[in-house]
Point group: C2
Chain length 213, copies 2
């Protein structure tokens, strides 16, 4: 679901942000995240508030090396990557596809577990926000044709009021050692720990394409 981006909407949104007391620094994060995400989406906006909250709860310093888990692929990975520097490619973001609008952030650890903070959308708190609740619960009462602007506005107004947090112990996955081997089918190199029998996962269970030329 996308928020149509035209100048009237952008100006109104900026005015709403000012009216709801959203700081210029956080407004800048909304802009950066929307640009990365390529569209302005309601879930992205909630995600920006979530990451901002988690960073504050951790007492994180600017540019500090952190790790994150997103509990859904929907929107949340993007503000985590842009605002906290935990990206997929630098191995500091993991998605655990539980289907919840929730994230966990923690500092590095040499041990098997470390304290972190989990921020999530609280279904009870959401009941006070009629439009967000209808959208979030995928209710037939939510009409994306007419309610997208009021939805964004209610999200900006609610800010952290729909969120809760928990202090948690996050398990740290162990690292694996590997050596490079050739797949017997396609002939490409893969880590031995990624093999399925004598062939790679691309020739096996993870096959997702057929070669044309």
């Amino acid at each position: 679901m996308q928020f149509p981006s035209h100048s009237r909407a952008s100006t109104e949104m900026r005015e709403s942000m000012d009216a709801y007391g959203i700081s210029p620094a956080l407004q800048e994060q909304f802009t950066r995240c929307s640009s990365f995400h390529t569209v302005t989406a309601p879930g992205l906006f909630i995600g920006v508030f979530m990451v901002d909250y988690a960073l504050e709860l951790l007492g994180a310093r600017h540019g500090e090396k952190l790790y994150a888990v997103a509990e859904t692929y929907k929107c949340i990975p993007d503000p985590i990557q842009v605002m906290a520097g935990c990206t997929f490619g630098n191995h500091r973001l993991q998605v655990v596809p539980i289907g919840k609008f929730a994230l966990t952030m923690n500092r590095p650890s040499e041990k098997y577990a470390i304290e972190g903070v989990r921020v999530y959308v609280n279904a009870e708190k959401l009941k006070k926000f009629r439009i967000i609740n209808a959208w979030y619960t995928h209710s037939p009462g939510f009409d994306s044709g007419t309610m997208i602007y009021p939805l964004i506005d209610e999200i900006l107004k609610a800010g952290r009021d729909i969120l809760s947090y928990q202090r948690v112990i996050v398990r740290v996955p162990p690292k694996s050692s590997w050596k490079s081997v050739k797949c017997n089918d396609c002939g490409e190199m893969v880590p031995d720990i990624a093999l399925e029998g004598d062939h790679c996962k691309g020739c096996g269970s993870q096959s997702y394409y057929e070669v044309l030329s």
Copy 2:
């Protein structure tokens, strides 16, 4: 593995890029991707060349809506996100963890499959590049203490010369419909399609934290 970022190294790298004929536009992509990735890594640099090649092979217009698959979590997801706008949060990037330094990009499709392009590091071509080959194959002959600068330099010099591509047919995963339900254990809302029996995956197979408070 990271490339130490200090001014001498940055200046030398920029001079090497000029000497190897890397365009100012592509140099700008190296800067943007390194900034997002938070560090300058050899795999990231190869990834920038790969995404640039894939976009050219597709004849992609600036800002065009594309979809991508990365065949590893290592580095490659980041240049795909930054350069092609296919992010995790906007559902246009998928990682299929095959363990290969390869990516596939394609246009949107209403059907079950669409033609795309797959760009990959070609192990045969790599043999001409001694340092990259030693690093890429995880050889004990690669010493990260002394060979990181020469490695980056060889990557910049090689450019596309270590890459190959295939025209492929990519399968498009179907979308699922869902409704919001409450997990019987934690009480949080999840899509019904993400349940395991009467509880969510966070209370089941995907559990990754314990609550402190």
